[in-house]
């Protein structure tokens, strides 16, 4: 049903139930708002959206419309102005946004809001992109009738935590920030305190403002009350240039805008001043997580490599590119088919493609270090084109298994939470409680490491092989299986928690078969999504790299030379150094002198994402472009170019001139990418809500997307029949199954070399169930000794009732060299 009304004399037709403020926006009329935000429920708190509304008059007795002399419906305007943000449109209404009365009303509200506002725009970070500043210019009266001496003075630099600062004088009490935290992200860790003019924003969490999404409040705060520690006093908005990018930290692929400015601090060259969300309603809407926003300083770390190095007389010394590449080429040539390339999903498609081509030409292998299976299944069973978590509704279901999305892919977590609140059936299966449980309709618990069993149980009840009967699970599992059966569309997110490589392979298959059972493979909002450990792990699979199921040491057995790009296997596990030391040539290409690089014969300095053009393929298999935001660090080159330069010395022809040209080769050679071009990836279309226009008050300061929404690849479809795999045997016996769990703030090099989030990095500690602590006779403080495979390690420990019986947890990448779940013996550490 649609409704037609007139706004400032122009007719507009919108769906029934549309808020007046949105209807006006769709027609191109900006009604000023402060408290209203198109992503949140209206509250009508600030009163700035006042308009005049005329409604068709009716005869009270008969209900008939009354007509004026000329036979048109008689329109009656009420005595009062009304708030356009709380009222849904009505048929035949006449709305006046720009009448004298409406403008006067808004003027008075602005004057009132300014009674205690400091108007310190010249030193305010928001100045230049501030809705209040703009509306004061547009709607304010030049002078205030209130007494200057009666202005309330409040704290101007109140840290809500180490990331977000509050200026209490500037707050206009719109509650956008508190509602965002409560309604959208479910972390009500900031709130209002007191009332009236004394009202202020407070936080009682420890650490302050404890939420992975806190930075977004600074985008939607309509004044300069909330600012980030990163950008505060960093630059004036009008000095900034912007470049489109993609977040490199997780498989969601949030669209970013990097704001840059030339600075003396960088010898007059561009510096990234802030990372902002760029709207992509199908990926991240207008949000990003704090990791994406604050972890970019590593690109400017003084520890970045600025020149190639080669080993001479046992020492790594600086060398020219020519010398380093020649030396590397010699090593690879000598090794030929005994050369192995090892890379991670941190790289872009262009880099991975060149690397794969080089290794293929040599006859060697290109190995992916991200030890999780399923990339090939995603190519067949991935989500269909047009899939959008924001469009999931009541008839859809989502299964999340063996993953903790809040930690691994925060924006997926956020969007699934919201989908569940809209009525999507959310099923969360894990060995332990995770934060998505709070929103799940079905919570399936399985024993530590038994995700495959659970998935096979779900498959069994969805028409799978009768042989699967032995995996039939408990009641929760059965009702989850029925929910999958009932749903029209089913999306499955599978991760690697509690599983080794073989486990993830079996899990991916089981999940693929569940989606197949629905018979809707290839349709939108159906299919598989892998919760990859890296932003571009899917791209790596697509470019032809594969993990070595038996582990890196197997890949290195018999190798003579290794070329390691964007991976640090020795840093991940110092005990794995031996095979690298045995190689006759070890080439490492990275941003930093990693532990692996320290063993290398040749070290090649690569560029950071902020300096690069290229593409990432997200977990939902959307290919998206990054644009260079700042000039490259002197001495470094993009990975694809280094690989191509090396290839030339081996008489292998690879594209070395420009990233788009590498992509042309990808588009000619890689099946699912056939015919794609950078132009396709740069296409945009109008999105709702509109952001980034002149009226920053509507959506906030997130950037409009002018540089590309990316292209979602179509899955190839089921094809040849797939057979399920039995779960790999794993038994911890009397031991505890030590399970690494992914945490957002790990000790990875990006976080270590950025300063802002230092205080939030997860500490290295063993997490035990309180019963286990008691059983082991551990005292409250102190350490434990864990041992496995003849190794042992002393660790601090902490208690959590979320740890499943028979297991212990440890944050992944926090310093313990363990990537697969492993049975360990835990005992009290003597001393």
């Amino acid at each position: 049903m649609s409704v037609t009304l007139t706004i400032d004399g122009t007719e507009v037709t919108v769906p029934e139930g549309t808020l007046l403020v949105d209807a006006a926006k769709r027609r191109g009329t900006d009604v000023p708002v402060f408290c209203y935000h198109p992503k949140m429920k209206p509250v009508g708190m600030c009163r700035v959206c006042l308009v005049e509304i005329g409604r068709p008059a009716r005869d009270r007795a008969t209900g008939e419309s009354l007509l004026d002399e000329s036979g048109d419906p008689l329109i009656q305007f009420g005595p009062n102005l009304e708030t356009a943000c709380t009222i849904t449109v009505g048929q035949g209404w006449q709305v006046r946004v720009s009448s004298e009365k409406a403008i006067q009303g808004r003027k008075e509200i602005v004057e009132y809001l300014l009674t205690s506002h400091p108007l310190d725009c010249p030193i305010c970070d928001k100045g230049g992109e501030c809705p209040l500043q703009d509306l004061t210019m547009g709607h304010g009266s030049g002078e205030s009738r209130f007494l200057f001496d009666d202005k309330i003075r409040l704290a101007k630099r109140y840290p809500l935590g180490e990331l977000i600062f509050l200026d209490r004088e500037r707050c206009i009490q719109c509650a956008r920030c508190t509602r965002f935290q409560d309604e959208i992200v479910g972390d009500p860790v900031i709130g209002f305190y007191e009332r009236g003019r004394r009202l202020e924003i407070v936080t009682y969490s420890d650490p302050g403002f404890d939420s992975y999404f806190s930075g977004n409040t600074t985008d939607i705060c309509p004044v300069g009350a909330l600012t980030t520690a990163d950008f505060r006093f960093g630059a004036r908005p009008w000095e900034l240039n912007s470049a489109a990018s993609i977040c490199p930290h997780c498989p969601v692929g949030c669209n970013l805008t990097l704001s840059t400015r030339r600075e003396a601090s960088n010898a007059g060259r561009d510096v990234v001043k802030r990372v902002m969300p760029r709207q992509n309603e199908q990926v991240n809407e207008i949000w990003i997580c704090d990791k994406g926003r604050f972890v970019h300083h590593y690109a400017r770390s003084p520890e970045r490599l600025t020149s190639p190095r080669v080993r001479k007389n046992g020492k790594l010394v600086k060398a020219s590119w020519n010398e380093a590449l020649t030396r590397a080429a010699e090593g690879l040539k000598g090794a030929a088919s005994s050369a192995v390339g090892i890379a991670s999903g941190r790289l872009m498609n262009e880099d991975l493609f060149n690397l794969k081509e080089l290794m293929a030409a040599l006859g060697g292998r290109a190995i992916l270090v991200d030890s999780m299976a399923g990339g090939n299944l995603i190519q067949r069973y991935g989500v269909g084109v047009g899939s959008n978590l924001g469009s999931l509704g009541k008839r859809d279901a989502v299964l999340v298994i063996a993953a903790d999305l809040h930690e691994e892919a925060p924006i997926w977590w956020l969007r699934l939470k919201q989908a569940a609140e809209r009525g999507t059936t959310l099923i969360v299966a894990n060995a332990r409680a995770t934060r998505l449980d709070d929103y799940a309709k079905h919570r399936v618990r399985y024993g530590p490491g038994e995700a495959v069993q659970a998935a096979l149980g779900l498959l069994h009840l969805n028409g799978g092989d009768p042989e699967l009967a032995r995996f039939e699970g408990d009641r929760a599992l059965k009702s989850a299986a029925r929910a999958i059966k009932r749903a029209r569309n089913v999306t499955i997110f599978f991760g690697q928690e509690g599983l080794n490589y073989a486990g993830t392979e079996a899990l991916a298959r089981a999940c693929a078969l569940i989606t197949e059972s629905k018979g809707r493979v290839g349709k939108s909002n159906n299919g598989l999504v892998a919760v990859w450990p890296r932003a571009n792990t899917q791209g790596a699979w697509d470019m032809g790299l594969r993990p070595e199921p038996a582990g890196l040491h197997r890949a290195l057995a018999g190798a003579v030379a290794a070329y390691i790009v964007a991976a640090d296997p020795v840093g991940d596990d110092p005990a794995a150094a031996a095979p690298f030391e045995k190689l006759s040539t070890l080439i490492v290409q990275d941003l930093f002198l990693t532990a692996t690089a320290e063993l290398a014969d040749v070290v090649l300095p690569a560029q950071a994402f902020v300096e690069r053009a290229g593409t990432f393929t997200s977990g939902e298999r959307r290919v998206q472009r990054l644009y260079p935001a700042v000039g490259a660090l002197a001495g470094s080159l993009p990975d694809w170019k280094i690989v191509a330069n090396l290839a030339h010395r081996l008489e292998v022809d690879l594209e070395d001139k420009a990233a788009p040209l590498v992509f042309e080769r990808i588009a000619a050679a890689v099946p699912d990418y056939l015919g794609l071009s950078y132009d396709d990836l740069a296409a945009v279309e109008p999105q709702w809500p509109e952001v980034g226009g002149a009226d920053l008050y509507f959506g906030g300061t997130a950037y409009a997307n002018k540089q590309g929404l990316g292209v979602q690849l179509a899955p190839r479809g089921a094809g040849r029949p797939l057979k399920w795999k039995a779960p790999p045997r794993a038994s911890a016996g009397k031991d505890l199954l030590l399970t690494p769990v992914t945490v957002l703030y790990d000790r990875g090099s990006a976080l270590r070399h950025s300063r802002l989030l230092e205080g939030r990095i997860a500490p290295l500690q063993l997490i035990l169930h309180p019963d286990e602590i008691e059983r082991l006779g551990l005292s409250e403080a102190g350490e434990v000794e864990i041992s496995w495979d003849g190794r042992s390690e002393r660790l601090k420990f902490a208690a959590s009732t979320d740890v499943p019986p028979g297991s212990a947890l440890v944050p992944r990448g926090a310093g313990l060299a363990l990537s697969d779940p492993t049975p360990v013996t835990v005992r009290r550490s003597n001393s």
Binding site: P188, V189, G191, Y193, R195, G196, Y204, S205
Partner: protein
């Protein structure tokens, strides 16, 4: 600890609400905590939050909103004068200021004998009876409407006398 000292009271309060709506019990639990601790300290607020699964910040917001909860220590009686706009138009601000002056304390302070604290609060929903205040003491609270300095001072005097009588009682009792 509330949970340990008031197990039965807490259970009785929680029993009044559906088990999936425990958060609804926040107000009576805050009164309980206030009775126990005198004022609602951060620890008290955190405890209440833990009892019903609310973030400390959410509970604190309520404490900040309602004038019946106290986040800092005060006298035996609290006189809370509404100085919001409608009351201010009827002279409530001047009334409050003068009252402080008479008692020789600043707004928010307590008289040296520890008997009376003067606070200003937002609308008490009796705007037509300004100047008015809400008196809070050991026996609950009461509105005193259409006040003058004279009537307010007379009330304070009687409170002080009562306070002394109470104290005398205690002295003789101990």
């Amino acid at each position: 600890m509330l949970a340990e000292n008031y197990t039965q009271e807490i259970e009785a309060i929680l029993a009044k609400y559906p088990s999936d709506q425990k958060r609804s019990a926040v107000m009576p639990l805050l009164f309980l905590a206030q009775r126990e601790y005198g004022t609602l300290t951060n620890e008290a607020i955190t405890e209440v939050g833990e009892l019903i699964g609310l973030q400390t910040t959410e509970v604190a917001s309520l404490v900040g909103f309602y004038s019946l909860y106290h986040d800092r220590p005060g006298g035996k009686y609290r006189i809370q004068v509404c100085t919001d706009l409608p009351c201010a138009l009827k002279g409530a601000q001047a009334f409050a200021d003068e009252l402080c002056e008479k008692l020789d304390i600043e707004m928010g302070e307590t008289t040296p004998d520890g008997q009376v604290t003067i606070e200003q609060v937002m609308c008490l929903a009796a705007c037509d009876r300004a100047p008015l205040f809400q008196l809070q003491g050991p026996n609950g609270f009461r509105y005193h409407e259409d006040q003058s300095i004279g009537s307010a001072m007379a009330l304070i005097e009687s409170l002080r006398v009562r306070g002394q009588v109470d104290r005398a009682h205690r002295l003789t009792a101990s």
